[in-house]
Amino acid sequence: MSHFIDRRLNSKGKSTVNRQRFIRRYKQQIKRSVSEGVGQRSVTDVDSGEEISIPKRDISEPIFHTGQGGVQKRVLPGNDQFTRGDKIERPPGGQGQGSGDGDASDSGEGEDDFVFSLSKDEYLDLLFDDLALPNLQATHFDTLTQYETYRAGYQTEGVPSNLDIVRSLKGAMARRIAMTAGSRRELRELEEKRQALIDDPHDNALAIEQLDEAIAELNKRIDKVPFIDTFDLRFKNYAKRPVPSSQAVMFCLMDVSGSMDQATKEMAKRFYILLYLFLTRRYENVDVVYIRHHTQAKEVDEQTFFYSQETGGTIVSSALKLMDEIVKDRYSPADWNIYAAQASDGDNWADDSPLCKQILEQAILPVTRYYAYIEITERQHQSLWREYQKLESEWDSFVCKHIVSVNDIYPVFRELFTANTEKTA
């Protein structure tokens, strides 16, 4: 007799460990592939994994086997033209007719790449491998304590809104079964007896009547057991525990004056996306605030931020002021981890740059965990860069980097967040 088992609901990730082992072993090759891929990736595509290809010879598992040459005899099916003693010219390439026994791929001499997909998580892990959020040693998460309410079993007392109905009724049913067990057993016996008397050919009217009375009495007793009792009630219990804050806000500041063309904005966008992905790996909640500015700053949505064109001059301090206001208004540093990234082509009113330095120094840098400034330009640095350079030497949490082309973005990003914290030394 065969035994059937439905295994479809069993976990299907049986190979996950082995898959991770594989990725771990070929991390170097895969990382190379990931780094190469990041430049070609579509900007809006942040949620998918990545196709990876590794040269097959790198991952072959060598075994002893025979190579080409020597005397080889083979039996083949489907003879359509040959007779004994025929001489066939050797096909070019040295390969025998047909396709061997699949040795070509085993030997690792096939040059095809081994191509496979990484999941989003695996991709991000590799993309941000060795990177860490800076300055976490200085200000620890746990200074930002919040409380989280969580379920902690049941209690017998509580407010009606916390009543767990299913659990209470289960208890009630158990109690009813327990309390009526004796009576029901008796009842069953009496009913059997009564049936026996009825089946009996003799006249037992009197005895039956007595039994009926006893049965009615028992039924009454069983009915008296209450359906639900205060004793059965169970209330959900809640407790509180402290949790480190897992929310962050990321400010994206960008110059949208006439000098910033779409290509420059695309570069800035790539940087923001990397930063965003990176933060989402660390924090559960990441808010993004987009602030764009020319001579005036404005908080906008993502679409406007990246794709609408403005003209006019540039006053960077307007954006910094707005950011400061928004922080004071909505993102208390006690509850939020604040990150900011500013992108610009370096244009600013010469008079405004010292003001920017002052705002950053006094208002923004003390509350932000990290402030990154990237300048996307092929020209000479101007006053803003020089002022920011001064800040960089004074503040660990402030960095400025120069980007010329799209290919710089990922390396610069890696440089900014390399886990090795020399700067703190």
């Binding site: 035994h3 190979s15 082995n18 082992r21 598992e61 004994r84 001489k87 066939i88 047909g98 026994d101």
Partner: protein, 500 residues
């Protein structure tokens, strides 16, 4: 007799009905089997099963991950379909059915795997000799836990290196002539500690330096091992000087798994042929008895003929001789020879012509492996039906010559060569442990006994690096030609870092 529902959707109740009918028929044809444990799984689980060489449990290793990724990728792109079934030589015999198949396919798989393969596992002499179906699952549990424990103790990388090295030599971890001791989890656990201590002491003893100069010269001529050893992994497990006890255990695990698959490698044609013969026979009998519908039969025959198709040598689909096709046709042919022998059959098979077909079939299944099965039962009719011909490819000649075709002159040649083609020792190069320089630099020498002047492929260098990982002293590989001359092929020295 009422018809069985032909779906196409299946239910567990329906599967049970089919199984009952098929089981009853199987019993009529004297197919004795292990009890069946039939598990329904999804396509993804099927790929998991693929990746761990078809075993329900296995230790963790990156190569299984690679295989899984490879399978998944091919499947997703539609380059390949998944097998309809996987069946495991265990007691009870575990067979996997895929969820998305129709009831017809499920019935086909039940007949094929649960009664065909299963009876083969239970009754073929190679399986009886070399595997212990009862113990394999327990042993794999032990292996998985042991490997996990080693990883905890010695680090994943260390374990991985050792396993990599063992995998490279897996085909040389097989005993061909001894009955291995039965495996059971209790026994393994019980004996393991003892073995560790004992082995280590043995090995240390072996390497104790003997300071007697004269004796040394005398001993120089005797080799160690005295006879060449074909089971390289076994030799390493017992004699590698510097292996840790846990590494020896890992070598042993790989060796045991390899040994378990040894019969399967040698009975592919027979095993598949037997299973195909019986699914064909059982389902046809069901039809003859009016239990399944025409629609069921047509779908079944469609799948069946796809499975046993043999593309010609010049077809783009050709990838060697299809073991399903050859096996199925040979078993069908045996039945034909028993029932309706021709004059030719009488001349070739003597007493077998006209014998009871069921007896003959069971006899053939129980007592042969592919090599001997072909040399015993390949009839001229099959050779003609397959239009078999044999070619000889000698690198010294500028052409390939046709040495035999499907005619009176060629039958015996083709039969002999096809049989040789299934001889495992012709498929895997014959490499044996030849010598260990016990009193010198402790170097290990392997010897490749070449056949037909066929050279070893370049991968040998890599394999030697792996071997060096286990032996930890110099490793040499030499080739002995048919004329007795010996040439040195490759070495892996201790100072050359075996960087992997």
């Amino acid at each position: 007799m009422s018809l069985l529902d032909d779906g196409p959707e299946w239910t567990f109740a329906l599967l049970q009905e089919y199984d009952l009918e098929i089981a009853a028929l199987a019993e009529r044809f004297r197919l004795t089997t292990y009890p069946n444990q039939i598990e329904v799984i999804t396509a993804e689980q099927m790929m998991d099963a693929y990746a761990s060489i078809g075993m329900p449990i296995n230790y963790s290793h990156w190569s299984f991950g690679k295989k899984f990724i490879h399978t998944e990728q091919h499947y997703k792109r539609g380059n390949m379909g998944l097998a309809y079934e996987i069946v495991i030589n265990s007691d009870p015999c575990i067979a996997y059915l895929m969820e998305e198949n129709t009831i017809t396919m499920q019935a086909l798989v039940i007949a094929h795997a649960c009664y065909g393969h299963n009876s083969f596992f239970k009754n073929n002499y190679l399986f009886k000799t070399w595997t212990d179906a009862k113990a394999i699952i327990d042993y794999l549990v032990f292996a998985r836990d042991y490997v996990a424990k080693c990883e905890e103790k010695h680090g994943v990388d260390e374990v991985e290196h050792t396993l990599d090295a063992c995998h490279a030599l897996m085909n040389y971890g097989v005993d061909r002539y001894k009955r291995p001791p039965k495996l059971s989890i209790q026994e393994e656990k019980h004996r393991q500690e003892e073995r560790e201590r004992y082995l280590q002491s043995q090995v240390n003893d072996l390497w104790r330096t003997l300071p007697k100069g004269q004796k040394q010269a005398h001993h120089q001529k005797s080799r160690f091992p005295q006879e060449p050893q074909e089971n390289i992994l076994y030799f390493i497990e017992k004699h590698a000087p510097l292996l840790e006890p846990w590494q020896r255990e890992l070598v042993r695990i790989v060796r045991k798994v390899s040994q378990y698959f040894y019969p399967q490698k040698q009975t592919q044609v027979m095993n598949e042929g037997w299973a195909c013969f019986w699914h064909y026979h059982l389902l046809n009998t069901l039809y003859d008895e009016g239990k399944v519908t025409d629609r069921f039969m047509l779908e079944f025959l469609h799948s069946h003929s796809a499975v046993i198709a043999q593309p010609d040598y010049n077809s783009p689909y050709f990838s060697g001789i299809n073991p399903y096709a050859l096996g199925f046709n040979m078993f069908m042919d045996i039945k034909r020879i028993c029932e309706n022998p021709t004059e030719e059959d009488k001349a070739w098979f003597g007493k077998m012509a006209g014998a009871n077909w069921l007896d003959t079939l069971h006899f053939a299944m129980e007592n042969f492996k592919d090599e001997s099965f072909v040399s015993q039962f390949l009839s001229p009719k099959i050779i003609r039906d397959f239009k078999l011909f044999s070619i000889e490819d000698d690198t010294k000649q500028s052409f390939i010559s046709v040495s035999a075709i499907h005619d009176e002159l060629g039958y015996r040649d083709i039969r002999e060569q096809l049989s040789a083609q299934y001889n495992l020792s012709n498929l895997e190069p014959n490499i044996q442990v030849y010598n260990v320089d016990v009193r010198g630099d402790r170097s290990l020498t392997l010897r490749y006994y070449s056949q037909n002047e066929r050279p070893l492929a370049n991968s040998k260098e890599e394999v030697l690096k792996h071997l060096h990982q286990l032996w930890k002293f110099d490793v040499h590989l030499e080739q002995e030609n048919a004329d007795g001359s010996v040439i040195h092929l490759a070495s892996c020295q201790s100072n050359t870092d075996a960087s992997l």
